[in-house]
């Protein structure tokens, strides 16, 4: 069993991270360059971080970037690591990690639904959660929810007051 501080030394030695932080007890975040992400995940998986809890995504619209967050957990260390990387918002493409974790296929489909990010190597990109979606992906920050609702649904009319 390793402690958080031991992990920091290990990650700094082997992974060439941009930043490593301890968020709180048993929770760490690692920022990696996008070219080094897959090898980084591979390394961590071999060191016991075998559980991919989920993949999430953040839209940093002002910096014109998407941040992908891979949430890993180790049953030996009892530590969560969030491995983060940033990709260009205009060329929203990344590589799949379904060869590392088969379940990633679904997480990537989910992110494709809600953020419109393509994952190279993952061919099955049918809609997973949404159906017949015909607007920009709804979790992007430039998606105007209120306008969409106004256009698609009608408000109930209470005696002429809307």
């Amino acid at each position: 069993m390793r402690s958080e501080n031991e992990l920091i030394t290990l990650i700094n030695d082997k992974l060439n991270p941009l930043e490593v932080n301890i968020l709180r007890e048993q929770n760490m975040s690692v920022k990696l360059k996008k070219d080094e992400l897959v090898s980084g995940l591979n390394y961590l998986k071999a060191r016991g971080y075998s559980h991919l809890a989920t993949i999430s995504c953040v839209d940093w619209i002002e910096e014109n970037e998407f941040e992908l967050v891979y949430h890993l957990f180790s049953y030996e260390d009892k530590i969560n690591i969030s491995v983060k990387t940033r990709i260009d918002r205009d060329k929203s493409k990344f590589v799949t990690i379904k060869n590392l974790w088969a379940v990633a296929q679904y997480y990537e489909r989910d992110i494709h639904d809600f953020f419109g990010i393509e994952f190279e190597g993952n061919d099955d990109m049918e809609e997973l959660i949404l159906e017949n979606w015909n607007d920009i992906p709804p979790m992007r920050k430039d998606f105007k929810t209120r306008d969409y609702v106004n256009e698609k649904f009608e408000w109930r009319d209470y005696d002429g007051q809307k």
Binding site: N132, K152, W155
Partner: protein, 177 residues
């Protein structure tokens, strides 16, 4: 046709019989489903009013929409409703079915159930307690006896209206041939 039925004594007998044997399809869409187990089981016991749960749409009379409906669920609800046999009654449950409730500005939940299905009765509240549900059931029974719960006939008469609304939010719908 409608007037003729209303005036006939035979229809009154049918209505009287109908209201005494109602089966509710247990199809739970939103958080309101949590109020149904106490309504069905011994604490509130809706079977004392002659209402019981049904497992499949083809055997059910009441479709209770319990809470918010995402557009994706709406499609399944429409399929379910169309599988049910006449006479069938739709009850909207909770403020989400009335005007969107707390999901009023959500991109994927519908705001007014009666645009997509013929609602016979709404139960307001967020959430309505089992007492309110039973009150709603009793009101529905009264409406059935008075011959006013005719949503399923309305659905046939205004089929195009409902299908157009459904198509607007679902993108595609199946129409009868």
């Amino acid at each position: 046709m409608k007037e003729k039925y209303k005036s006939s004594k035979w229809q009154e007998v049918i209505n009287w019989a109908q209201k005494r044997s109602l089966f509710m399809l247990h199809y739970c869409t939103g958080c309101g489903a949590i109020e149904l187990p106490p309504t069905m089981t011994s604490r509130y016991d809706m079977s004392r009013f002659g209402i019981g749960p049904a497992a499949t749409p083809r055997q059910a009379d009441i479709l209770l929409i319990t809470g918010y409906l995402s557009t994706k669920t709406l499609k399944r609800v429409v399929y379910t409703y169309e599988q049910m046999q006449d006479p069938k009654f739709v009850m909207g449950f909770g403020s989400c079915t009335i005007n969107g409730g707390m999901y009023w500005d959500s991109y994927n939940t519908i705001k007014q159930l009666d645009k997509y299905l013929p609602v016979d009765l709404y139960i307001a509240g967020c959430m309505p307690r089992p007492e309110a549900i039973l009150e709603g059931f009793l009101d529905l029974k009264q409406k059935i006896e008075a011959g006013e719960a005719e949503g399923y006939k309305k659905y046939k008469e205004e089929y195009e209206y409902y299908k157009t609304n459904q198509e607007k939010v679902l993108g595609e719908v199946k129409r009868r041939q």
